[in-house]
């Protein structure tokens, strides 16, 4: 089995890497390295790429890095009970492939407990945002006799899990880090054979129950999992774990396997930062059914029971539909006659995917790069949130060249493996699951209907009134918290300051009663748009006692042009007034992505003020008098307490 199988193979990786090193301009070199990280690479090539990456980064001041590319930065500490150094290059290169420059810190071998229970000055200085706790089954063995009862085993496991909970809490409290816990993989071969599962205290059964209890504790504590036990199942055991390396150097994960493992770690961090893909764009012919509908006719395509290939495509469609239900936006981009393509969705009796599952449906004879741009515009989503699945290698090549930000997986020759390939690529890795995720499909559909009304409405005012909008404002409470963190970490376009906060950091901020932390939902006659805006305002030394600085103001682009900003400002001024503030200070920090809101405060009636020192380069500051009138809007505001 090949690792990183979804990535294309470079015709001459080594030469490309040499060429990159010859590139004098560090920004351009970083762009090239980013591209190379998106190709299949083995352990040695990955390590070499990392060496060039580190050399390139050390030539760039940290402050210059975000401006250099649309790359995010994050700090990851790995605390482990086994040797992990040989995996760090692959984790960093995996980060780059997912759009994150990772700074890493590796705890001293085997001292993870001390690092968490006592203060580790090195770790404190490193200030990790993410803390991967990579333990192996030797750390938490079953020491019970083989005739121990289920409840004895449960007690022993409870002890271990309580121990882990303590470690997690220290990770969160001492270092304000998002903890990622690796699940355990049984260290020894079975003792009883299949009967192991019937002996609660057998090492294999014990490890399995430990993982189960740990997953449930992680859910309660807001810990993310690197579920090695599950991930490794799809690989031959000796590909992932190599006892020779274990004895040689206490390496749990074999060096050969580093590239795949590195991607597993990186995709979780990317997901926490909101960088997971959001939209799956599908080709049709030979991608979601067998054959060419334009040639073979609706009755001629291979889809459905009774035909092995037809069943394979049916399965793939079921998998796609399930992705849709969990919140991945689905779109179609196909070279086809639009009427024929749509009729396959409406008339083929075995189609699992319905036309209504597809938020944007583009079938024509134009080039696909242009069509993907069009879909991005229609859905108001960035191309960097797209995955494009096409069985045709030529189309894949063109999209990779024209739109490098779109993820284009290599597909296996056999359609029976399409779903697995998509899953292996980890494009849609989640760091949370909210009710908004589950409602997203419907919401994008309603959005399309609104667009249709708008194209009919001649008068904007009439249109806005006709939507009967209600903005529901509430303080960010436990229910909204996960979605709030998700938005804070992934909103790029309508985001005034692009400040990112981890779970722990946001919790700290909201614990202060002087801070205004509001979230907003928007309902209209088509339904609930879900949580669409977050505003955080807090006292700031630079602005004195009587003002609140708007630390964060972000909004989902789905509700642009609906006057939500004016209604939200109304709420925030009231909240600020209740806390005794006389003014709001707005800040705009330009990024390559948020030009959209450069005049946000001006439009709302804020007046420009001089920037304090120090301030982020290019930032502008604005003042709004609490007593002043906020701009008019057609939204009913409902304040939940």
């Amino acid at each position: 089995m090949e690792q990183l199988a979804w990535l294309p193979i470079h015709s001459d990786f080594a030469a490309a890497l040499r060429g990159t090193r010859a590139e004098a301009d560090t920004e351009r070199r970083l762009t090239h390295l980013c591209g190379l990280a998106g190709y299949q690479r083995d352990f040695v090539a990955t390590e070499k790429l990392d060496r060039t990456l580190q050399a390139t980064l050390s030539a760039l001041a940290p402050a210059d890095r975000p401006a250099a590319l649309p790359l995010r930065q994050a700090r990851l500490a790995v605390l482990s009970s086994h040797t992990i150094d040989h995996l760090m290059p692959a984790i960093r290169v995996g980060g780059l492939a997912h759009g994150v420059i990772l700074s890493t810190h590796v705890g001293h071998y085997g001292t993870y407990r001390q690092s968490l229970m006592e203060v580790d000055p090195d770790l404190l200085e490193f200030a990790p945002q993410f803390l991967l706790l990579a333990l192996d089954a030797h750390e938490m063995p079953s020491s019970l006799p083989f005739d121990a009862s289920e409840s004895d085993v449960a007690d022993a496991i409870q002890g271990y899990v309580d121990n882990l909970r303590d470690l997690w809490r220290f990770g969160r409290q001492r270092y304000s880090a998002q903890v990622i816990q690796q699940t355990f993989v049984a260290a020894d071969p079975p003792l009883f054979g299949s009967y192991d599962g019937l002996v609660p205290a057998s090492p294999i059964a014990f490890t399995e129950q430990l993982n189960k209890a740990m997953r449930s504790a992680a859910r309660q504590e807001g810990i993310l999992l690197l579920d090695l036990a599950w991930l490794a199942r799809t690989w031959p055991e000796d590909a992932v774990f190599d006892p020779v390396r274990w004895h040689q150097a206490k390496q749990l994960i074999a060096p050969h396997f580093a590239p795949e493992y590195g991607d597993w770690v990186a995709r979780i961090i990317a997901a926490s930062l909101g960088l997971s893909r959001k939209c799956l764009v599908l080709d049709l012919d030979n991608t979601i059914w067998g054959g060419v509908v334009g040639d073979d006719g609706i009755e001629g395509i291979r889809l459905g029971q009774g035909d092995p290939l037809g069943e394979a495509f049916l399965d793939f469609q079921r998998y796609i539909a399930a992705l849709g239900r969990r919140g991945v936006v689905l779109a179609v981009c196909s070279k086809n006659d639009p009427a024929i393509a749509e009729s396959a969705f409406c008339q083929h009796p075995e189609m699992v995917l319905r036309r209504s599952d597809i938020a944007s449906f583009v079938a024509n004879w134009d080039d696909k790069a242009g069509n993907l741009r069009r879909i991005a515009g229609e859905l108001n989503l960035g191309l960097d949130s797209f995955v494009f699945v096409d069985d045709n290698p030529a189309e894949r090549l063109i999209i990779r060249r024209e739109l490098p930000m779109v993820a284009v997986p290599e597909l296996p020759a056999d359609a029976a493996y399409y779903g697995k390939r998509l899953a292996d690529a980890g494009y849609f890795e989640a760091a949370s699951l909210t009710s908004d995720d589950l409602a997203r499909g419907r919401s994008y559909q309603a959005s399309a209907e609104r667009q249709a009304i708008l194209s009919r409405a001649t008068d904007m005012t009439e249109y806005l009134k006709s939507l009967s909008m209600t903005l529901v404002a509430s303080e960010i409470g436990p229910v909204d918290f996960p979605r709030a963190v998700q938005l804070i970490n992934k909103s790029n376009q309508f985001n005034l300051t692009t400040r990112r906060y981890t779970d722990a950091e946001l919790q700290d901020l909201l614990a202060d009663p002087a801070v205004v932390g509001m979230c907003f939902r928007l309902k209209d006659r088509f339904g609930d748009n879900g949580l669409i805006s977050i505003i955080l305002a807090r006292p700031d030394d630079q602005w004195g006692k009587n003002a609140l600085l708007i630390d964060t103001w972000l909004m989902s682009c789905r509700v642009l042009g609906r006057q939500v900003e004016a209604a939200a400002l109304e709420v925030v001024t009231q909240e600020a007034a209740r806390r005794g503030a006389q003014a709001l200070i707005g800040e705009y920090r330009p990024t390559p992505r948020n030009e959209l809101v450069s005049r946000h405060y001006e439009k709302l009636g804020f007046s420009p003020v001089e920037a304090p020192d120090p301030h982020v380069q290019g930032a502008s500051f604005w003042r709004f008098d609490i007593a002043a009138a906020t701009p008019p809007h057609f939204i009913t505001v409902e304040r939940l307490t």
Partner: protein
């Protein structure tokens, strides 16, 4: 492959891993002679060598190697499936 063939192929592996086209291996070369040959690089070298020659070193047999010559003989033994030089160096 003769020891000389292996030495030449191994030289290419070293040049690739260290990005140093000037590396020339001789049987008497040791880790001290090559800049950057630390414990981390050693793991990379071992993995790269296994990949290049399609072999797998056995537990414990890398620890007793003194120089490149020992390494070459071990590679040859592994390629031929003989018991290797474990007894001699261990």
């Amino acid at each position: 492959m003769t020891e000389q063939d292996i030495l030449e192929a191994l030289t290419m592996v070293f040049r690739d891993v260290f990005d140093q086209d000037s590396i020339t291996l001789r049987p008497e070369t040791t880790a001290d002679d090559i800049e950057g040959w630390d414990s981390q690089a050693h793991i990379t070298l071992v993995v790269a060598t296994e990949m290049r020659f399609g072999i797998k070193f056995r537990t414990g047999e890398l620890e007793g190697l003194h120089n490149v010559g020992d390494f070459v003989r071990l590679i040859q033994a592994r390629m031929g499936g003989s018991p290797g030089i474990q007894g001699r160096t261990g």
